[in-house]
């Protein structure tokens, strides 16, 4: 089992979960940065973002499943160059290694985003997996995700013996993860675009984890939308979280948020602004039919987030402060001094 993006929130969380399963023998984690959470026996390999050493790892460790969580969807966390490097080149190299002759890989699970559908006034209210976006992508993050999707489609066609699952997640909220919208909802007043109150659909972070684990441990080939049941207007999201709204002008909105960007109060990238204008809903029924049961609905997700905000206000940030120490980890994993109890 190979997990990419071990240094990201999702990669670490999933590696933790996979370690606990009896049917997963070895977890190899790959990233440029160190794991975020303490891991017991996951082998961490530091690689450059384009995964050039990947085919060697795949062959040497006889990897049969690749869980590709390292697709960046938050364009505020990195530059356009890095987005391209990680999303496009990274995915390309990963799939090239997985599809090499004699490769032991039998399953690839990819975490993607409903950003690939865009947000436009011509959109249907609920995107199904086979629909494509109604407007050309305008931002680097959307373009890079679409390009990665093309690589994946070609890979699935060329390798019919490999189960390829691609999960497109709608906006994620949760206690531990920072997204553009969780940052926006943490502000004193939450931005909205004057005169617009679009429909939003959220996925709880536990469902992201649950869905990826489900796809890793079951055979669910194909593309799936992941999002909590139902959509609610942005105004209601703010009401549940208990925040007032501050309107942005409906014209030249992209310029109007520039002061917010410059003062680093909040970076609202263009793809999020169009979402604040037109919203997006996706049809989540296909993954349900495959057998997955959601833990949270959209409203439930927002409510859970509101609860954690209230707690945070009292006790402060409670997320883990783990730091990866190479020597310590090597000691625990390989030193003869450690007493190992065989199961």
């Amino acid at each position: 089992m190979l997990v990419t993006g071990l240094g990201t929130f999702w990669g670490s969380r999933l590696a933790q979960q996979l370690e606990q399963r009896d049917d997963v023998e070895i977890v190899v984690g790959l990233d440029t940065t160190e794991p975020r959470l303490p891991l017991e026996h996951t082998e961490f390999v530091r690689a450059d973002s384009s995964y050039s050493i990947l085919s060697r790892i795949v062959q040497a460790a006889k990897i049969d499943t690749i869980l590709h969580t390292h697709l960046l969807v938050d364009s505020t966390s990195s530059t356009g160059r890095a987005l391209h490097e990680i999303n496009v080149i990274g995915t390309m190299n990963l799939l090239a290694a997985a599809g090499a002759a004699g490769s032991p890989v039998r399953k690839v699970v990819v975490k993607s985003s409903t950003l690939v559908y865009g947000a436009n006034f011509k959109d249907p209210y609920s995107f199904r997996e086979e629909m494509s976006r109604t407007s050309a992508p305008r931002t680097e993050v959307e373009r890079s995700l679409l390009e990665a999707a093309n690589f994946l489609r070609d890979f699935a066609e060329d390798n019919p013996h490999v189960t390829v699952s691609k999960l497109r997640f709608s906006n994620v909220l949760g206690d531990d993860i920072d997204t553009v919208f969780s940052k926006a909802l943490r502000m004193v007043a939450v931005p909205e675009i004057l005169g617009f109150d679009p429909r939003f659909q959220f996925t709880h972070e536990d469902d992201v984890e649950g869905a990826l684990l489900f796809a890793t441990t079951n055979d669910v080939p194909g593309v799936y939308n992941i999002g909590g049941d139902g959509t609610i207007p942005w105004s209601e999201v703010c009401a549940i979280v208990g925040k007032p709204r501050i309107p942005l002008p409906p014209l030249l909105t992209n310029w109007a948020v520039e002061p917010l960007r410059m003062t680093r109060v909040l970076d609202l990238p263009p793809e999020m602004l169009s979402l604040l204008r037109y919203g997006r809903g996706v049809d989540n029924r296909r993954f349900k039919r495959a057998g997955y049961e959601y833990k949270y609905t959209t409203v439930g997700t927002v409510d859970a987030f509101a609860r954690s905000l209230r707690l945070e206000r009292v006790v402060g940030d409670s997320s883990s402060s783990y730091r990866y120490e190479r020597d310590v980890e090597t000691f625990f994993r390989h030193s003869p001094a450690i007493v190992r109890t065989d199961p």
Partner: protein
């Protein structure tokens, strides 16, 4: 927990031979998922009443209250053949379209809602969505962007009444001298949707909308400049000045519901024969056109019917 893991392992098929019951018989999520999801139900968490289609019953009740006098005393709408509208199950309602700012959509929607107590979802040009405030209000009161998939889900999955005007802006943007002459019915997309959803089409002929805001002159250049489908000078603005932009003339509305058309086609097909679709579309257009001429023959006055 261990027991569950055992079972899960036993149930897992060989990944090389994907079983036909993909993922269904397997244990998907950890067992504690049940207890995690036992939070309060959605209905207790909601702070508003906006549904998945963006409509709000509160806003709609208010709109109904405000609009009812217009429907009753201004347009004095009169129905004929209401029994042709099914009382349950999905149906696609199609009607002729007129007036610079269409007055027929609210009359039909409000009319069916008060006469039959059935909600009607009006499909309209998605340009509405780009307008601040107006777009939001429009969707809160029951407007849905005219996307084939929206229509399909309303008709097929939710079995609702859906209203469309196949003429689109060609109908509302026509000159007064062309009144009651139906334009082209698009590319027959509405027939295809009804076939796919497996619902009947109910045509309605509307008399009165044409005279409520007649277009006397159109400027192509201004329309292009403002990015509008048409830029009209209406009789209303000539008579009332700026107030004419939002005030209809009190034309008498008469609506005739024609017998529902059950399309003999297999639902949920990828594609339908173009010739068949165009044929049906043309037939429905003609039926409405004939009904209109028939109604105009018996109309004595534009204002009193």
């Amino acid at each position: 927990m261990n027991l569950v893991a055992e079972e899960a392992r036993a149930a897992r098929p060989n990944p090389l031979e994907p079983s036909p019951t993909v993922g269904r018989s397997l244990v998907p999520v950890p067992v504690e998922a049940e207890t995690v999801s036992a939070g309060p139900p959605d209905s207790e968490l909601r702070r508003g009443d906006v549904d998945a289609w963006g409509r709000s019953e509160r806003v709609r009740a208010l709109a109904r209250m405000l609009y009812d006098p217009v429907y009753r005393y201004w347009f004095r709408a009169e129905w004929e053949g209401l029994e042709n509208i099914p009382t349950d199950g999905g149906a696609l309602i199609v009607a002729n379209h007129a007036a610079a700012i269409p007055s027929d959509a609210p009359v039909i929607m409000h009319g069916i809602e008060v006469e039959l107590q059935r909600a009607v979802y009006g499909l309209a040009e998605n340009l509405f969505r780009t307008l601040p405030v107006v777009g939001t209000l429009w969707s809160r009161t029951g407007g849905v962007p005219a996307h084939p998939d929206n229509a399909y889900r309303l008709l097929h999955d939710e079995q609702q009444l859906v209203l469309v005007f196949p003429e689109g802006a060609k109908g509302t943007g026509k000159h007064y001298r062309d009144r009651y002459k139906l334009r082209r019915f698009g590319r027959g997309g509405f027939v295809e949707i009804a076939m796919r959803a497996g619902v009947p089409i109910v045509p309605i002929a509307v008399v009165g909308a044409e005279e409520s805001m007649p277009i006397l002159w159109k400027s192509k250049r201004l329309a292009k400049l403002l990015g509008l489908p048409y830029f009209p000078i209406t009789a209303n603005t000539l008579l009332m000045g700026p107030a004419g932009l939002v005030t209809y003339l009190p034309a008498k509305f008469k609506l005739r519901v024609l017998p529902p058309i059950h399309l003999d086609a297999e639902p949920d097909q990828e594609r339908y024969s173009r010739s068949r679709v165009m044929e049906e579309s043309e037939r429905i257009r003609e039926e409405i056109q004939i009904a209109l001429y028939d109604m105009l023959r018996t109309r004595r006055s534009v204002w009193f019917g």
